[in-house]
């Protein structure tokens, strides 16, 4: 019996080739966002009026803008951490990851290409695994571009962020993206519905953000806070205090488990 050994990594490479332009656009957008906030640092630095204004905000407000609840605009890491890690960065990387994760299986199924891919002698589980790898590579590339921009622009505008702090922050971003993207990928693989994949992944990302924010002000949600990937990744303010490795690994493991579970259903369902 002939056995065909398909080129290893071919599906990953194909997905990366197809997503090249989107990746470049997102990497540039993240770097530009970093540049913009870094460029404002000289006008924030030493200006206590901002900090005074912020201090008058009720804790609920502060909880929504910061992952950990602290608002410190007096240091570069505190300032950039609030601006980039409190909401905007995680939201944007989630959008990118969800669109990429949805397109990987359910999107292709909608567009009619999945039957051709799966007509090749390649197991469905392998298609999913290779596309998850491509998602991880894409997110790593966006995180790397963001980190590089942080390093360059923090030097340019006198912020002097440490390399370890930058690495912690962008690792948290990438892993948060992987979590949201994994939900989209897994739901899409399990159901074949791009709309459902997008919706549930967005819901998961928003819920993890809201649980973390509201747990800071309402005692009923407090027990749920350690279950929020947003809290596990950003609650420690990684740009200031580094990444909490066990929490990050837990989110990573959850993302991989989701993809594996999606793969099990994917192998057993009818194609749409």
């Amino acid at each position: 019996m002939t056995t065909v050994i398909a080129a290893r990594g071919e599906i990953t490479r194909q997905m990366l080739r197809g997503g090249r332009r989107a990746l470049a656009a997102w990497a540039i957008a993240f770097a530009a966002m970093v540049a913009l906030y870094a460029a404002m640092w000289p006008s924030i630095q030493g200006n206590t009026q901002w900090q005074n204004l912020v201090n008058t905000l009720p804790p609920t407000y502060r909880a929504l803008f910061t992952a950990g609840g602290q608002l410190d605009l007096s240091t570069p890491a505190g300032y950039l951490g609030i601006e980039l890690m409190g909401f905007l960065g995680p939201a944007l990387i989630a959008v990118y990851a969800i669109s990429t994760g949805t397109a990987a299986i359910a999107g292709e199924e909608d567009r009619g290409g999945l039957e051709i891919t799966l007509s090749a002698p390649v197991a469905r589980g392998r298609v999913l695994a290779e596309r998850a790898a491509a998602l991880l590579i894409d997110l790593t590339a966006v995180a790397a571009a963001t980190g590089l921009a942080m390093w360059v622009f923090s030097l340019a505008f006198g912020m002097h962020l440490g390399v370890a702090a930058i690495a912690s922050a962008v690792a948290a971003l990438a892993i948060f993206g992987l979590f949201a993207g994994a939900v989209a990928l897994a739901v899409g693989a399990a159901t074949g519905s791009a709309a459902l994949a997008r919706a549930l992944a967005a819901l998961a990302a928003v819920a993890s953000y809201l649980i973390n924010a509201l747990a800071q002000v309402t005692s009923t949600l407090k027990p749920a806070r350690p279950l929020s990937p947003f809290y596990l990744l950003f609650g420690n303010e990684p740009l200031q205090h580094g990444l909490r490795v066990p929490g990050a690994l837990a989110v990573l493991a959850a993302a991989l488990a989701l993809i594996a579970a999606g793969g099990i259903v994917f192998a057993r369902r009818d194609l749409a």
Partner: protein, 301 residues
């Protein structure tokens, strides 16, 4: 049973979607070296059958085996030797046909370049434009190219000639013949008999999920109705032909007999021997009429 190897074997293959029975206990074989034309009106279950054979759908009951492997459980082994054309050819919209062929060839572990260029020449495929910019017919040709890549020994083709101009259709039939002579098996679906009658060795006709008939075209032709006209030297008795097996629509008008024979004309010829026949004219009903008769006169929806 001897003869060429059974490549596709469906055994009571059934697919149900909720309360809709899409395919009802289909039992069918395709052997190496033959082209099976899979005919039926739209919605009869042709695409469902092909997708079950590809392992894209799980059978509700029954099973399908391809090259001896279960189509659902051993998909990867089955796919190693199949070329597949989906009914709705959309491919990967952003890739050119050349890029798509390269990708698929690498997934199949093929050395692709020569095959792609040759096939593209024969099928007149534009290799260098993104598939989404191609017309339906040109996309169809690109899809055929992908299905034929690497000389698979089973081709499952869903409506392969829809949207093809006649010249390309002819070339495509040549390509199929070459593959079949090399021992490949082909199963191609259509809702129009004329698209398959020049290339198929056998036809299977399906309607509302049920197989009506699976016969060689030669047998189908033999069983086709014949319209017969006979002129006699002197008028035969009025009921001279009433007892001939298979005769219908008898109209005896003096020295002229007009009738329809179901199947072979031999019983009529034996009876005619008793009389002096001055002229004999027999015309076979065309296959399309036979086919429509099997469809059950209904307008193929």
């Amino acid at each position: 049973m001897t003869g060429p190897a059974v490549v596709v074997g469906a055994e009571s293959l059934t697919k149900r979607y909720g309360r809709v029975l899409a395919l009802d206990r289909l039992t069918l074989q395709v052997r190496a070296g033959e082209v099976l034309g899979f005919l039926g009106p739209n919605g009869a279950g042709k695409t469902t059958t092909l997708r079950l054979l590809m392992g894209f759908l799980r059978p509700t009951a029954g099973s399908a085996r391809v090259h001896g492997h279960d189509a659902w459980r051993d998909r990867v082994a089955v796919h190693a030797r199949i070329g597949y054309l989906p009914g709705d050819v959309r491919l990967w919209p952003r890739l050119t046909a050349r890029e798509a062929a390269g990708h698929l060839a690498r997934l199949r572990g093929l050395d692709h370049d020569q095959g792609t260029v040759d096939l593209a020449k024969r099928l007149d495929v534009d290799l260098d434009r993104p598939v989404r910019e191609l017309s339906k017919g040109n996309r169809q040709k690109a899809g055929l190219l992908l299905a034929l890549l690497g000389d698979p020994d089973l081709l499952l083709l869903d409506e392969p000639t829809s949207g093809l101009d006649p010249l390309i259709q002819q070339e495509f039939h040549h390509l199929l013949r070459e593959r079949v002579q090399a021992g490949a098996a082909v199963m191609l679906s259509s809702h129009v008999l004329s698209e398959v009658e020049h290339v198929a060795d056998r036809v299977a006709i399906i309607r509302a999920g049920r197989l009506l008939i699976a016969e060689s075209l030669a047998t189908l032709r033999e069983n086709a109705r014949h319209t017969v006209e006979v002129r006699f030297a002197c008028p035969p008795p009025p009921d001279a032909f009433a007892a001939v097996p298979g005769i219908t629509d008898v109209r005896l008008d003096g020295r002229l007999l007009r009738c329809t024979m179901q199947g072979a004309v031999d019983p009529l010829v034996k009876t005619l021997g008793r009389y002096t026949v001055t002229d004999l004219n027999s015309r076979e009903a065309d296959l399309e009429e036979t086919f429509l008769a099997l469809y059950g006169q209904e307008d193929p929806r």
